[in-house]
Symmetry: none
Subunit: 141 residues, 4 copies
């Protein structure tokens, strides 16, 4: 039997709080998705003004980061024609997302969930995802 850790609802709210605070700071209303370590949704918030297309994209980023245990921007860097990773972005009907903005949530070296942001530029999405993780980590410290 395997014993594993998974984000709970309180953890998810911390991640969303941190990400939303950064999104407000930069003035971009975001879609924010939090998944468990298997990529299944725990919590989601579309800030007022977040993009409709980002509802799915943010969830796919969080799914990818958690389920593949890799930041989506790292997949993006590797997913170039000629590289053997290229093509991974069409997997699972495109659910495996290689657009920047998805980060695994790591506790004690173990992936316990994922956070995905969408509505800004990939760099803005990444910054807000990181802000979510920073807020989560500082609360746990």
């Amino acid at each position: 039997m395997i014993t594993l850790k998974r984000l709970d609802q309180q953890d998810a709210r911390l991640l969303i709080e941190g990400a939303a605070a950064k999104a407000r700071e930069i003035g971009i209303p975001m879609c924010i998705a939090i998944t468990d370590e298997s990529g299944n949704l725990i919590a989601f918030e579309r800030m007022d003004g977040g993009k409709i297309s980002s509802v799915i994209v943010s969830q796919d980023k969080a799914y990818t980061a958690a389920a593949a245990r890799k930041a989506t921007h790292e997949y993006n860097a590797a997913c170039v024609p000629g590289n053997l990773v290229f093509g991974i972005h069409t997997s699972q009907g495109g659910r495996l997302c290689v657009v920047g903005g998805g980060l695994p949530v790591v506790v004690d070296g173990e992936v316990v969930g994922g956070i995905g942001l969408s509505s800004g530029s990939p760099q803005q999405d990444m910054d807000c995802a990181q802000a979510g993780i920073d807020h989560f980590n500082s609360d746990r410290a």
Copy 2:
């Protein structure tokens, strides 16, 4: 040009609060999904212990209730073999959900969103969805 109303994030939190309170009262951790009037997700919460399969089912119930402007249990009653509605449950890859637990959110006679609950029996899901709407309405009163 059409002018319409749509739930905002604060409205969505009220709906979730009311539904979650009822879910705690009956001891069934639920997945709770809130969509706008077009069926696109605004907010989602998987209470600790909510079922994995309910992540999608709750969203599909909320989508259906909002987009079709009809409670999913009303579709369920009509979706019986021999009735001309039968078959609607396979529409859109099954996203159109006829299982009880999805309710449209109505303000001033206009559908402004949907709420979908899943993890309990359909009746429990319906009760919690109604509790969400009651809480939302009492706050607005």
Copy 3:
């Protein structure tokens, strides 16, 4: 509660009229799709001779332009390997379309819908989409 504006059927007809006039001028029968601000179809016309595959492509272009509030050719310019946006084109089963020919419809700074054209070259599709918007705007002026 959010109050928002959405194209109505009369608006949609204006957009199609302008796009179809341009399509006739350049001699390319087109598929023309108009969506609301959430990306859901309001009106569609396959001019006699329009391509079958364009039935879906035109809708996806209109969906993307509205739901992501961005012209599909702008996504196209950013969606190159090595750029952090790369991969967005496979999102939602490929429904998020980065082929030129989809434009958001903007009124008073707010996205109220989308127009998507398909059957010609991307530049022809873009020209016809723009012609639809020009006709719509001149009617409102």
Copy 4:
């Protein structure tokens, strides 16, 4: 943070062993799928002669039993026209399977995985799934 238990590879092999032994006894080569508690595949075996269509069906049964924490034949009993559960069988593109032959794997009152069998009659599938669980439990006793 939530701490949970999940089947490991050794557990999965025990479940398959028990199910395959029963399948050989009744002379029906089966597809046997084992998932974790979230419904994701851990192990799979298509016995020589197992049906091709059962490759997916067995996985969907195991997914459903684990993710919904319910035997698929229990869903089957409730999923009759006029019952509020009716329609659940088309959810998630039909992945939520209500055909008999999927059972949750429970340890200390907690669902830690799922087993799904397909290729025989539903009753045969159910018998083999149960045999897998019996073998797993007797090994742990």
